[in-house]
């Protein structure tokens, strides 16, 4: 069977045995896939320095139907996103995005998720430092939405009633905003009108008209996103890169 040639992003690469590597790929045409790169750790491997995490390019993969691990024949790098390594916060945000995709992106064609991820990495590379918190939150919420796990924000997440404008409650457990009746007695995050608008904009990926977040609000938004992801997407398992991104000021 000939190899398939697909645009791909390396989400993770780790040693396998003494000589090989396993790469987790986000491909444009085949979704999330794992492949073994045989001999990639040998000093004279043709893979050379190509199999770096967050490298973008064309993967040549022998895909075996009904298997979880395929064989990577070659990987032609077109972009390495090196600028992400100039700042640990950028790198942590990018790897947190990669971690979400490793856990949640299915092995099915999702070109829109691939395109979104590539543009998100470019955004994290180039955004000015003072806007990095906003950009990180925006790309991670956008990934959550693209993967089909967006919080309920048009109606109450518990009883489905319409939500009036203004202050409200965001319930991680219920997966979205609550109306005043359902929010009674809950210990969920209470959001003022401005905070609610910021969160709604972040989830929708519309951040151009949002003022930069101060350190306290940025930290609160990071904690909220991580709690939401851990509860609904990771089955309460810790996501290591996401946890590190949350802690980095």
């Amino acid at each position: 069977m000939p190899p398939v040639h697909t645009r791909a992003l390396i989400l993770h690469a780790f040693p396998y045995g003494e000589t090989s590597k396993i790469v987790r790929l986000l491909t444009r045409e085949h979704g999330s896939q794992s492949a073994i790169a045989k001999g990639a750790q040998r000093p004279k491997s043709p893979f050379g320095a190509r199999l770096q995490v967050l490298s973008e390019g064309t993967a040549h993969v022998y895909i075996k139907p009904h298997r979880d691990l395929h064989t990577l024949a070659d990987f032609d790098v077109t972009r390495q996103h090196e600028e992400l390594t100039r700042d640990l916060r950028r790198f942590a945000a990018a790897t947190a995005l990669a971690e979400l995709l490793i856990r949640l992106c299915p092995a099915e064609p999702h070109p829109e998720i691939y395109d979104l991820t590539v543009s998100s990495l470019a955004q994290l590379e180039t955004v000015p430092g003072e806007a990095l918190d906003l950009a990180s939150l925006s790309v991670l919420w956008a990934a959550v939405e693209a993967l089909g796990f967006a919080p309920q924000r048009d109606a109450c997440a518990r009883d489905g009633r319409a939500l009036p404008a203004g202050a409200t409650v965001f319930s991680v457990a219920d997966g979205g905003f609550l109306c005043s009746r359902c929010a009674r007695g809950t210990r969920s995050a209470r959001l003022g009108a401005d905070d609610r608008r910021v969160l709604e904009r972040l989830i929708a990926g519309e951040v151009s008209d949002i003022a930069l977040l101060d350190a306290k609000h940025a930290a609160a938004h990071r904690r909220l996103l991580v709690r939401f992801v851990e509860r609904h997407l990771a089955e309460d398992r810790e996501l290591k890169a996401l946890a590190m991104w949350r802690e980095l000021a």
């Binding site: 043709p46 893979f47 320095a49 190509r50 770096q52 967050l54 390594t85 700042d87 290591k240 590190m244």
Partner: protein, 197 residues
């Protein structure tokens, strides 16, 4: 058979050694004279009991401080930062470096949950703090994405102490063939080109 099973079990815990290879190694040892097995056992025991990390640089050795930190002929104004103690051997084999080292104990890797608190960065800060004789820190982390972000982080620590920080060069291997080098390495070599002397 318990002794044989024990040895196979222990050997198969080593990196790159599966149960089949561990079994082969075990039966190879059993075919050797008994003294060969005892020598191996003594060597393993010596490593386990006598070798430990240097409290100054993190290098592995039988003395604390290690032989490099204790060597008065070494240039203490230059510190080379490496990821693992095994990297020291690679640099020492060049015979070109006469400074001292600092072993980080890994690299930053959010996907593996390894952050700044998991590396020996406090030790580096202490070595560069007030009154330090260090004038240059050479960052020799691996040329991977994780190695680069670690280098950036170390740079921030070093520059905060007003100490010169340099990065080892990246590019083509000596004796290599340009035609067979991968495009990433060639691109790095072009970016790091320098005037011919």
């Amino acid at each position: 058979m318990a002794a044989i099973e024990d040895l196979i079990g222990e050997l198969s815990k080593l990196p790159g050694i599966g149960r089949k290879t561990a079994t082969r190694l075990t039966y190879f040892l059993l075919k050797q004279p008994p003294e060969a097995g005892r020598r191996l056992a003594r060597a393993l025991d010596a490593v386990a009991t006598r070798v430990g990390p240097c409290s100054v640089c993190g290098n592995l050795g039988e003395t604390d401080p290690c032989v490099i930190c204790e060597d008065t002929r070494r240039d203490r104004s230059t510190v080379c930062v490496v990821e693992e103690a095994s990297d020291i051997g690679a640099i020492e084999r060049t015979g070109e470096y006469r400074g001292v080292y600092h072993v980080l104990g890994g690299h930053l890797s959010p996907l593996d949950g390894i952050g700044p608190d998991d590396l020996r960065l406090d030790g580096l800060r202490a070595r560069l703090s007030n009154g330090s004789s260090v004038r240059e820190v050479i960052v020799a982390t691996n040329p991977s994405m994780e190695g680069e972000v670690t280098a950036t982080y170390v740079r921030g620590i070093v520059e905060a102490q007003s100490v010169r920080v340099t990065r080892i060069a990246l590019g083509l291997p000596v004796g290599g063939d340009l035609e067979y080098a991968d495009n990433v390495t060639i691109a790095r070599a072009l970016a790091a080109r320098r005037e011919m002397e």
